[in-house]
Amino acid sequence: MTQIKMTVNGKSATADVPDNTLLSEFLRENMRLTGTHVGCDTSQCGACVVHVDGRAVKSCTVLAASLEGADVTTIEGIANGKDLHPMQAAFKANHGLQCGFCTPGMIMSGIDMVNRYQAEGQALTAEAIRHELEGNICRCTGYHNIVKSIEDAADEMSGMAQAAE
């Protein structure tokens, strides 16, 4: 067992966990944050993507014990109260989901790619979005509406970033 202390969605979380506990298990079973989905267990589908210290990672492929002091954000932590995050709002507006299983991972990956491209001053084109979604699998939508959602959200987030400056 290892005692871990990390920040999850802005709140301190402490637990004693078996050393082989995956971050996805810790989030879902200890924290009861079941928005993070586990779709494949082979590190391919991306439904479990969360942010660790500002980077998108597959939570099914990280040991909770290795994250002492880390800052973790899950799908439950991105809205501002009742106001959806622009990425969530864009998925809703563009019908970027059907069954919704992959959606938490799509949204967390979407936010990560927009942040990275904007930090580098690069344009996030539809083609770039498709490449960036290499590690997120959706079995319903054919991806068109997911790509549209991320494009729309990128515009919205860019406006927010400019307004904040």
Partner: protein
């Protein structure tokens, strides 16, 4: 995943000590191969020694015509590093094409090189650039390091600390990814430097990454895609599976090698 004991040493010495007393210890880098392997019960180390907490292990620097990348440097950091982009752009480009963005957030160069997956990208760069693998005890030339599929010259409990890449005049990498797994079916790294051209091929060989001698000779006299027109690789020794025959892969090596030369900067 079976039970395991997690260690996070603060120094290489502590990591070596933890491995020495472990019944069946393994070094944990970014975990993007090891953890999935453990989840599938294909590996069950008694102890995991995470080298991610050792300071200085992820440093990237250039000196005396040599680019040194710490073993703990993550693929995303190598891809985004202005130092790597300036010194060996092909290497930054290669790192940016490994796996997917979330895998690149975690996976490390040391982990990839130590694992020597026959379809991994980094072994092609290490061999193609004639790099040196630095460990806690010695330095190993790339030509002596890769010993076959998932096999390297590393001793038990030996830990890679950095990779030193001589900076070539130009280099390029191109791969043909398997459409489903996205691992390289064929990946070719070409480099043109002081002592001639080097060509390393990943994904295709039965024994993992290898150098293509005939292509190196052709490119050493004239480093251009056209020089490769007369060269071909023997299908003997090429991997054959449901995704492609040995002949198909041998042909693909020529095609991808030309693309790599064309892309070289």
């Amino acid at each position: 995943m079976y039970q395991t004991k997690y260690h996070k040493p603060a120094s290489i010495d502590d990591a070596v000590a933890a491995l020495a007393v472990a019944e069946d210890g393994k070094v944990l880098g970014g975990g993007q191969t090891l953890l999935p392997t453990m989840k599938q019960h294909l590996a069950s180390p008694t102890d995991l020694v995470d080298v991610g907490g050792i300071s200085g292990m992820a440093d990237i620097s250039v000196s005396d015509g040599c680019l040194t990348i710490g073993a703990g440097a993550r693929h995303a950091d190598v891809a985004a590093s202005s130092v790597v982009r300036d010194a060996i752009p092909a290497l930054a480009c290669l790192a940016g094409g490994i796996g997917d963005p979330a895998v690149r957030s975690m996976g490390t160069i040391g982990g990839s090189v130590a694992n020597n997956d026959p379809a991994a990208d980094y072994p092609a760069a290490v061999l193609g650039l004639g790099a040196t693998v630095v460990t806690n005890t010695r330095e190993i030339a790339a030509d002596d390091f890769f010993e076959g599929m998932f096999t390297t010259a590393l001793e038990e409990d030996e830990i890679i600390t950095a990779i030193k890449f001589p900076i070539p005049s130009s280099a390029g990498y191109s791969k043909f990814p398997n459409p489903a797994s996205r691992y390289a079916m064929v990946g070719v790294f070409v480099a043109n430097g002081g002592s001639g051209a080097r060509v390393a091929v990943t994904g295709a060989g039965q024994d993992g990454v290898f150098r293509a001698d005939s292509m190196e000779s052709a490119l050493s006299s004239n480093f251009s895609a056209g020089s490769l027109d007369g060269t071909s690789l023997d299908a003997d020794g090429m991997m054959a599976d449901i995704h492609g025959t040995a002949e198909y892969r041998a042909h693909l090596v020529s095609v991808v090698a030309k693309r790599a030369v064309t892309s070289a900067v």
